[in-house]
């Protein structure tokens, strides 16, 4: 029996109690002040792709955390004793939690766009992430997302890219493309992490990475102890799995004595390690964490990475967790400037960009497909409006959403990888001068 099945098969009261206990751990000062400050203006609805694409009020972001807010008001809010004494706030029931599963998982990519518009600055995405802890504890994570997370915890990869599979893929790519991939080097300056989506679906990304790193002469490695950057523990709401998944990478980086860990083209992986890694580790990380776009930008600025001009127009899709919530929106633009493309920004870009609809684990939830496709239309329209020849991003999860959307809508735009564009346009090194 799976870990999630065991959670589901408990009595209803036990599941609700588990959710309430998990919620209580998350009533931090930040969460409490944010819940306390909400004036129910509903402005957040205008920022949410799920509300905008359906016009259904239930998708208003602040409504998605209603059970979490109610549990707070009843147990931990300043006036909670009065709320209990006078019965002002009824206990949350299992039926309500079940009803909210759709809103907390299927209908929120935790993109954080709602915070942009909130006059109180409430970080609703962070509240959703907290609410997911309680939902998971109650066994209310959607089955397919839960299964992916459990597989990642068990096999080190959500898609079956186990250390053995990784080694085989690398061997195949090495033979096929003539690249060098230093697997499990004992010491290196840079630890490269990967997304299973890249390993299994976009292996060309790994080839691109190896070419770039060879071009700049970096001392790097991939470690089978910790290579998987995605963190489905975090997305599913399992705090312990989140820590396990982050610790694998952190342990591998410490073991190799690296100065830098590079997070692949993946949005949530960046948030999980760059902004949450030290917190789950319990101490500051003894290395820098860079998203691949930041790493490429740094290589360009240091003069190590030289690119041929790509004389085309291009539009860039910002992965929410890298740009809006990660603070790295400038990095990919510096890379694009070095590529010499004519950048045609989307109407909503950088901090204001729309999510592709597949973040936050939503792309792994099959029954959320219709909702996700509706939200994807917003992105499709914006990209078409730019008339750019190329659409690119720096997140494999976004690419997967785009590929799925492309197939579903028979759309003629294929989302490309920023890293792969860079690798395709490496400037050839000048031949070394002949020795006399």
């Amino acid at each position: 029996m799976s870990a999630i099945q065991r959670l589901v098969e408990r009595a209803g009261e036990e599941r609700v109690a588990a959710a309430m206990q998990a919620f209580a751990r998350d009533f931090t000062r930040e969460a409490a002040v944010h819940m306390d400050a909400c004036v129910h203006c509903g402005h957040c609805s205008h920022a949410c792709h799920f509300y905008v694409s359906t016009r259904d009020p239930k998708y208003t972001p602040i409504n998605k955390i209603e059970p979490f807010v109610r549990a707070y008001r009843r147990s931990a809010a300043p006036w909670a004793p009065l709320a209990r004494l006078f019965g002002l706030e009824k206990p949350v029931t299992l039926t309500e939690l079940e009803r909210w599963q759709e809103l907390i998982y299927d209908a929120c990519t935790m993109c954080g766009r709602c915070t942009l518009v909130c006059p109180m600055g409430i970080d609703i995405a962070a509240l959703i992430a907290r609410a997911r802890h309680g939902m998971f504890a109650a066994g209310l994570v959607p089955a397919d997302l839960g299964a992916v997370a459990e597989r990642a915890e068990r096999e080190m990869s959500p898609l079956g890219a186990t250390p053995k599979v990784l080694a085989e893929r690398i061997e195949w790519l090495t033979d096929e493309h003539g690249i060098k991939v230093p697997l499990d080097a004992p010491r290196a300056d840079v630890l490269i992490t990967l997304s299973s989506i890249e390993i299994m679906k976009y292996p060309q990304s790994l080839v691109a990475l190896a070419r770039v790193l060879e071009h700049v002469g970096e001392s790097w490695t991939i470690s089978t102890r910790g290579y998987e950057a995605t963190n489905f523990g975090m997305l599913s709401g399992n705090r312990e799995w989140q820590r396990d998944m982050s610790e694998r990478v952190i342990d591998a980086a410490i073991a190799c004595g690296v100065k830098t860990v590079v997070v692949p083209e993946c949005g949530h992986a960046y948030g999980a390690l760059r902004w949450e890694g030290a917190n789950v580790h319990g101490a500051p990380l003894p290395f820098k964490v860079l998203h691949i776009s930041e790493y490429l930008a740094a290589l360009i600025e240091s003069g190590k990475l030289r690119l041929k001009p790509l004389a085309k127009s291009l539009t860039f899709h910002d992965p929410c967790q890298v740009s809006r919530r990660g603070g790295a929106a400038a990095a990919p633009r510096r890379v694009l400037a070095a590529l010499g493309v004519e950048l045609r920004e989307l109407a909503d870009h950088a901090d204001a960009g729309w999510c592709c609809g597949g973040g936050g684990g939503v792309v792994a939830i099959k029954h959320a497909d219709d909702l996700r496709h509706g939200a994807f239309r917003i992105k499709m329209r914006e990209i078409d409006a730019t008339g750019a020849e190329i659409a690119a991003t720096s997140c494999a999860n976004c690419r997967q959403s785009f590929d799925d959307g492309q197939a579903y809508f028979k759309w003629d735009t294929r989302m490309q990888s920023l890293l792969e564009l860079v690798a395709q346009n490496l400037q050839e090194r000048a031949p070394a001068p002949l020795a006399r």
């Binding site: 009533f27 931090t28 000062r29 930040e30 969460a31 409490a32 002040v33 944010h34 306390d36 400050a37 909400c38 004036v39 129910h40 203006c41 509903g42 402005h43 609805s45 205008h46 920022a47 509300y51 009020p57 239930k58 208003t60 602040i62 409504n63 931990a76 809010a77 300043p78 006036w79 915070t115 942009l116 518009v117 909130c118 006059p119 109180m120 600055g121 409430i122 970080d123 760059r274 902004w275 949450e276 890694g277 030290a278 917190n279 580790h281 319990g282 500051p284 990380l285 820098k288 964490v289 740009s323 809006r324 919530r325 990660g326 603070g327 790295a328 929106a329 909503d348 901090d351 204001a352």
Partner: protein, 216 residues
């Protein structure tokens, strides 16, 4: 004891006591929640980000101006209108002076009357929006409507006093004072507290995003 004496005496004392004690309790309880330190390597200054976050959110993000511009404008009208009424009307300044000893010059009465009329109209629009907009209606609780009521009552009962001498013993003055006292009593219990928590909430997010190098 007349109604006016009650409103000026025990009711005022009790309402101020509830306001102060309740506000301190609520803020103290919020401050007492656990606040784990963020151990990630910061990219920017949290303190500067908090201030930027507070300032930035006085104005809607440019991408949302068309959607929330009207609602924001109405919000500004009644918030500023209330400030003008409370802090620039001579009888109110005299009332505050009696309580605290502080005083400042007043604006001409017609300015306050105009602010009162605008505030009344804006508050009515707010109520219509709250009930008419499907999102706002779904989100609304007792607190939203009651907070609206305790804000509206002092404005409308104050407007009813136009032409009545502030030093007279009219029961209308007692009703106005009692409506203000109801607002003071409700303040720490409901959403009116956002007058304080808005800045705290914005500051937290501003600081968090600034640490990340993201816009507040």
């Amino acid at each position: 004891m007349t109604l006016l004496e009650f409103a000026r005496g025990p009711a005022l004392t009790v309402s101020l006591a509830v306001l102060i004690a309740g506000t301190l309790w609520r803020l103290g309880r919020l401050a007492g929640r656990p606040a784990p330190r963020d151990l990630s390597e910061p990219r920017g200054s949290a303190a500067a980000g908090a201030l930027r976050g507070i300032a930035h959110r006085f104005w809607p993000h440019p991408r949302f101006g068309a959607k929330i511009g009207f609602s924001t404008a109405i919000g500004y009208i009644y918030h500023l209108g209330l400030a003008v009424i409370v802090f620039t009307f001579l009888p109110h300044i005299q009332f505050i002076q009696k309580l605290t000893g502080l005083h400042w010059p007043a604006l001409p009465d017609p300015v306050t009357y105009f602010a009162g009329a605008l505030t009344t109209a804006a508050l009515i629009i707010v109520l219509i929006q709250r009930h008419g907009d499907p999102v706002k209606r779904m989100l609304s609780r007792f607190d939203d409507y009651f907070s609206w009521l305790v804000t509206f009552l002092p404005v409308i009962t104050g407007m009813a006093l136009i032409g009545i001498e502030p030093d007279s013993v009219s029961p209308a003055i007692a009703v106005h004072l009692l409506s203000v006292e109801l607002l003071l009593i409700w303040f720490p219990f409901g959403k009116l507290m956002h007058a304080i928590t808005a800045f705290w909430s914005r500051g937290i997010t501003g600081a968090k995003y600034a640490r990340r190098g993201a816009l507040p």
